[in-house]
């Protein structure tokens, strides 16, 4: 897990009322000092039953900012991409997201789907989010419920992938708001880039290099989660691994492709598996049905999922968005996480960790992966 190098600055910001207000004040100050022109932050929708990202130019509206919402209706990576895919923003914008959303943003930048110029990516220690379905049962009660668990670092009610997220404090953007290990009534603002340093300077914040208490806490948590993650992956593989279990697990799939549509790193204009490439004339299906006895329709459900894993698991940030929207409760995010850990592990690549790490598909080493090939034995 990447930590800010010592050259990067960090500072402590004191919290007068509550963290949310403190961050709002910080953003206002940033606009006043023209460190950035506008911000994109999560807000509660008027109906109060969900949350959305909002691009704010008017300071007064900032007051409605709601950081770390209990659910993730839209993955921040998708959102940023939609704003900047066709070119950089002319105004400087600060964006506050969860680490997995920041990582998706970085990943999309590598894929030319996001332009980071004039963006300041700010991440926050993330307690996880709860399944949308749970939240909607009783939004107010669940919100309270979420805040309590968040404060006690209790992840029972969070989504399964959040429970095994060992990167919930990973810094890959420009700045990170670290609440873990911070003294009561304060949080760390940790820079991870030149942009970040610049911001801290321009805002005239006094620097304080020592974030060890945060580091230690983060280390502890991520190590615990890592262990948990490994075990969960094992369990899951037992549960869904093997042809029969797998076909059972995906047997429910109705090919709605929701998982793909909400996936931040599934950036294709038209998914390969929705294109005509994978469609066949009817005689193909008939002859297959003949040789097999029967074939299932809609066809190629499994090809869709496995194909997505081949295409995207290297970039998967385990944000869980796909699982949230699966109408038939396939543990798709957990399956992707299990696979992503495998494929990314091949190249000790961590999706969205750093802009400098090319996605393994576009790089190679002359000597590597020798266990995958057989050359002159």
């Amino acid at each position: 897990m990447s930590q800010p190098e010592e050259k990067n600055k960090s500072t402590v910001i004191s919290v007068k009322k509550d963290l949310n207000t403190a961050i709002i004040d910080f953003l206002k100050e940033g606009i006043d000092k023209q460190v950035f022109d506008d911000v994109i932050i999560p807000m509660r929708v008027p109906a109060k039953d969900s949350f959305a990202y909002v691009l704010v130019r008017n300071k007064s509206i900032l007051n409605d900012g709601f950081f770390l919402p209990p659910v993730m209706p839209v993955q921040g990576g998708r959102m940023v991409s939609s704003v900047t895919r066709l070119g950089k923003k002319d105004k400087k914008t600060a964006i506050i997201m969860r680490p997995c959303e920041t990582r998706a943003t970085i990943e999309l930048a590598k894929l030319g789907q996001t332009n980071l110029d004039n963006l300041i990516l700010i991440s926050m220690d993330c307690p996880g989010v709860m399944p949308i379905s749970d939240f909607l049962k009783d939004t107010n009660k669940q919100l309270k419920n979420f805040e309590d668990s968040a404060n006690n670092l209790d992840d029972k009610i969070m989504r399964p992938v959040c429970q095994i997220c060992d990167k919930s404090s990973m810094i890959s953007g420009d700045l990170h708001i670290g609440t873990l290990g911070a003294k009561k009534g304060s949080f760390y603002l940790i820079s991870n880039s030149e942009k970040g340093n610049e911001l801290i300077e321009k805002m005239g914040l006094k620097q304080n290099e020592n974030i060890n208490s945060w580091k230690e806490k983060v280390k502890k948590i991520s190590e615990e989660k890592k262990k948990k993650r490994i075990n969960k992956n094992k369990e899951l593989k037992k549960k869904i691994g093997g042809l029969d279990n797998l076909t059972d697990a995906f047997g429910k799939c109705i090919n709605c492709h929701n998982c793909m549509s909400v996936c931040p790193v599934c950036f294709c204009r038209l998914c390969y598996f929705e294109s005509d490439k994978v469609k066949q004339p009817s005689d193909d299906y008939l002859s297959r049905a003949k040789s097999k006895g029967s074939i299932r329709f809609l066809p190629d459900t499994m090809l869709f999922h496995i194909g997505r894993m081949e295409h995207m698991s290297l970039s998967c940030v385990s944000c869980g968005a796909c699982e949230d929207v699966c109408p038939v409760d396939i543990p798709i995010a957990q399956i992707f996480t299990m696979i992503a850990d495998e494929t990314q592990g091949l190249f000790d690549y961590v999706s969205g960790r750093s802009l400098d790490e090319p996605i393994p598909f576009v790089a190679y080493k002359e000597e590597e992966l020798t266990d995958m090939e057989d050359s002159n034995d």
């Binding site: 894929l111 030319g112 789907q113 950036f267 294709c268 294109s275 995207m312 576009v362």
Partner: protein
Amino acid sequence: MESKIGVYICECGPNISEKVDIDKVIDAVKDLEGVAVVERYKLLCSEDGKKFLVEQIKKHGLTHLVIAACSPRDHEKTFREVCENAGINPFLFQLANIREQCAWITDDKDEATKKSIRLTKAAIRRVRYHTSLEKKEIEGNPDVLVIGGGIAGIETSLQLASPVRKVYLVEKTSSLGGLINTFEKIYPNMELGSDLIKQKNLEIEKNENIKVFTETEVEKVVGFLGNFEVTVKKTSQDNSSQDFNVGAIVLATGSRLFDPKLTPQYGYGKLDNVITSLEFEKMNLSGKISLKNGKSPATIAIINCVGRDKKGYCSEICCMYSLKFIRYLKEKISNIKVTNFYSDLCIPGKRQQKFYEETKGKNIDFVRSKDIEVNKKADKLEIKYKDENGSKKNLSADMVILAPAVEPTIDASKIAEITSISQGNGGFFAEEHEKLAPISTSTEGVYIAGCAHGPKNIFDSITQAEAASGKILTSLIPGRKIEPEIKVSHISESLCIGCKTCLTVCSYGAISFDEAKKISVVNEVICRGCGNCVAACPSGAANIKHFTFNQLYQEIMEAIQ
């Protein structure tokens, strides 16, 4: 129009007919969709066989042709020509390899037959999905840009320039000739360097088809073989740039010497009378070999392989020019004593050892040595070294000449970037293929000549210059169009989302990015049709002609029947 596929199975004498039950194959395929006719024939690649096929195609009005015979590596070309002669597109044809891949790999006739059926069916299924592909032809500009006015650049220009081919020779400095300008003589024949350069300069001046730009650098290159747009810029005044078009580019930017200051043990830059080989050439050319104090030296040490460890390669020419230096010295300073410190004597080829033998002699010592150190001692220089047996020795000399490694010029990386080629070992320009394509680069139409490619002597540089000319004279013929590869990749504008993955994996820079549309575009002239981009594209926007997903899918489906 509904497809009429003709299927022809070659007996290849006994080779197929005895190992494969051809009639069984015929039965198995005759009723497949689209199959209009199935026939067997003794030997389809024979003249009679080809005639037979043409007649059949015309007689049955076939739209597609499938032949089950030998390997496509043997006769695909042959049968494509048959198609052309019979008036169907040569790509509406598929060859099933039932000889090498069926008849010849098993003694079990039944097995061979079954597999032949599979391969033939696969070919039939595949051919249904074939599309006509047409030859493309594009205009090619025969003119040539030569970067670098050293001997390689000069030779290339002289050989290429003609009434039908203009050459633009661009040189950074104020005069042509490069390093040879500083050489009194050239080994092994020891003719005068000045003569060579004078003569070449004359030829260049006389040749009205060569336009020379001195004190000029190349700013920008866009395009591809036959169609490069070039921008050059005067080094002296700024913003005085000039544009022109060429069809090919030759990089003859030469080399420079490794800086001996980076190997302090030789005292270069700190001690008087420690000089580099190039400085010595100049001194020698000036007519007076002398020490700082004006006296002429009595003892000289030449140290080879300076910086070799750091660079990690042998610079090839140092041993030989050190011998040449000894000749200079013997000739100019009576009873001079020279000691040549070397590690391995590298004098390859038929002429060079003789030169060495004839240079040896009285007062000339060749010392195989390592761990050399040069210090000042009184008014002389002291060379400490380890000899072959590893025993420490030392020697005093008036002057030390260093033979530093040869390395690429400073602007090599800039030029590599401009022409979008890569730098290989030692930072020299990377050739397309070490053995078979030492002159060309991964950018078609960009060639390398001389020391820009790696350390080499004048003769080898000139050979490369001539070779570059050879390449250009064969690929860019005035009035002749360029015929690029037909089976190339294509990227669907409507599907591409512009992730640039294809662009990154392409070895040939055949894919560029359209900033306006935010999509990748294949330049079909550059593409060589490997299909790497197709497998790399997650959204299936990229596809390759004649090896499309569907064509291969058809083969797969038959393979697993």
